[in-house]
Amino acid sequence: MKKIWCRLLIVICCVLGIMGTGSLTAQAAVNHTLNYFRYNNFKDDDGRSWVRIEMGMNKGDLEYEVSQNPDKPFQLIIKMNNTNRGDVKKNIGLDRKIARYMTLKNENRDMVATIAVTDSLEDHEYKVYTAEADKKAKKPYRLVVEIAADKGSSNKAIGDEKLYGVEGRTVVIDPGHGGSDSGAIGPSYVKEKNVTLNISLDVARILESNGVNVVMTRTTDVDVYGPDATDKQELQARVNVSRRHPEADIFVSIHCNAFTNSSAHGTGTYYYGHSSRDSLLAQLIQDEMVAATGLHDRGIHSANFYVLRNSWIPATLVETAFISNPYEENMLASAEVQHTMALAICKGISNYFQNIGK
């Protein structure tokens, strides 16, 4: 007998559950009335300026779509489904620093809010979200639009790209070779200079999104000093980029290794050894590279390399993998592996800053 009652209870629960969901959908179809409007300027924790626009409704569960008109880059368009305009003006002036004005227009059963920003929307970070009624602040359920004066933290690090202990640091990234100097060339003609640039740009992007001030010795396929300079001019030019930034904390040069025999393989990191910080930086990057790529661990080596010996700050040279080895050349050419390596280098840098403290 008990069993039967249990089953019945389960069935009832299920039916109620389905009805519940059904009623929610039904509720969304019910018309909303826009009857509240406020805007204000504010600054966030990072000191960035924003404008917040609040459009209040008579009830919750609003469905809305956010879009941009490619022909009108200055406009942010928000369509509120099944919404009528209540006690709110059609045209509303805004702060004029970030956003100029907003227009409300009915389209079929929906309401379209068009917000004109002062310049291209691409240059602004923005958020659109709904907020529940706030009785204390006497605010109803509302749709909130926040637009920043810049695009700043729109590229804030998320997920596995979030690094610790790096914010406010200055890192010099040196993509090995470039321009007239292709670096080593693999058996399938993959060029070192292109691989090192791709990895370095990714490293820079990840670091910057974590609040690091990144200084690059080059950001395109060029010689740093100039075409066909002497080795000394070219290498010294890279060192000088670093010296022009006295605030720089570390120098990281990114390369692909090569050897006459194609069987040589693995990942290795070099340092000169002005201080223990050089080898620490090298070891922490090496550890992350080995863990992330699964490549053979060639360890860290002290070496009389020009850019390392002449650096005034802790410096390391990462030999990601052997471009002269067909298997590793293939890896180096893959965008996915390049990203894996970039992330590993960033984690090593993060570990370094956490290790040395403030």
């Binding site: 050897f259 040279l317 002269s324």
Partner: protein
């Protein structure tokens, strides 16, 4: 029987003396050497030979391996003879010839404890580089020459000129000491 043994022993003593003489001064063709050859009943003219060590990287470039070679030093210096032996390369599949075949050795000169090794541009042009490649190319030259106890440092030049690096990594602008770290 006894007589043959005595003769053999005398020959050995003589040869040891000759080899010792060679080590002291290889540039000169000593008369002793010629005499030995005559005694050995070889008809060819004198050719002084010495045993040297040249260094080749293993195939995975994790270390330099010493290889014993016997080279003629007739009409040349033992330093150049050693470099020639190094540049000849190796057939050992476990080792690698790291100096490009197209590179030419223009000369080896010794000043004090420093040997200056001059290559033509072929060394740079036909070398693919890489930190490891550079390290082991330079290391093989430096360690082969510092195998001679009187040589403490080696300077690599291209067409008679000092260069900063071969392929953009290692600083070779100054004379380099023996690279023992590559032997482990």
């Amino acid at each position: 029987m006894k007589i043959t043994k005595i003769i053999a022993a005398m020959m050995l003593v003589l040869m040891t003396l000759v080899v010792a003489g060679c080590d002291k001064d290889n540039n000169q063709q000593s008369n002793k050497s010629t005499n030995t050859v005559v005694e050995n009943k070889t008809e060819k003219p004198a050719e002084e030979k010495i045993k040297i060590k040249v260094y080749f990287p293993n195939s995975d470039a994790t270390k330099l391996v010493a290889v014993d070679k016997t080279v003629k030093v007739a009409g040349t210096t033992k330093y150049k003879a050693a470099m020639d032996a190094l540049m000849e390369g190796t057939d050992d599949s476990k080792l690698t010839t790291v100096i490009p075949k197209q590179a030419k050795l223009l000369g080896v000169t010794v000043n004090g404890d420093t040997a200056k090794v001059d290559f033509d541009k072929g060394l740079i042009k036909h070398f693919n580089g890489g930190s490891t490649g550079e390290e082991f190319l330079v290391g093989s030259v430096v360690n082969t020459l510092t195998e001679f106890p009187e040589i403490k440092k080696v300077q690599i030049t291209i067409d008679g000129r000092n260069v900063e690096t071969l392929k953009g990594h290692m600083d070779v602008s100054k004379p380099l000491s023996r690279m023992d770290e590559l032997l482990k």
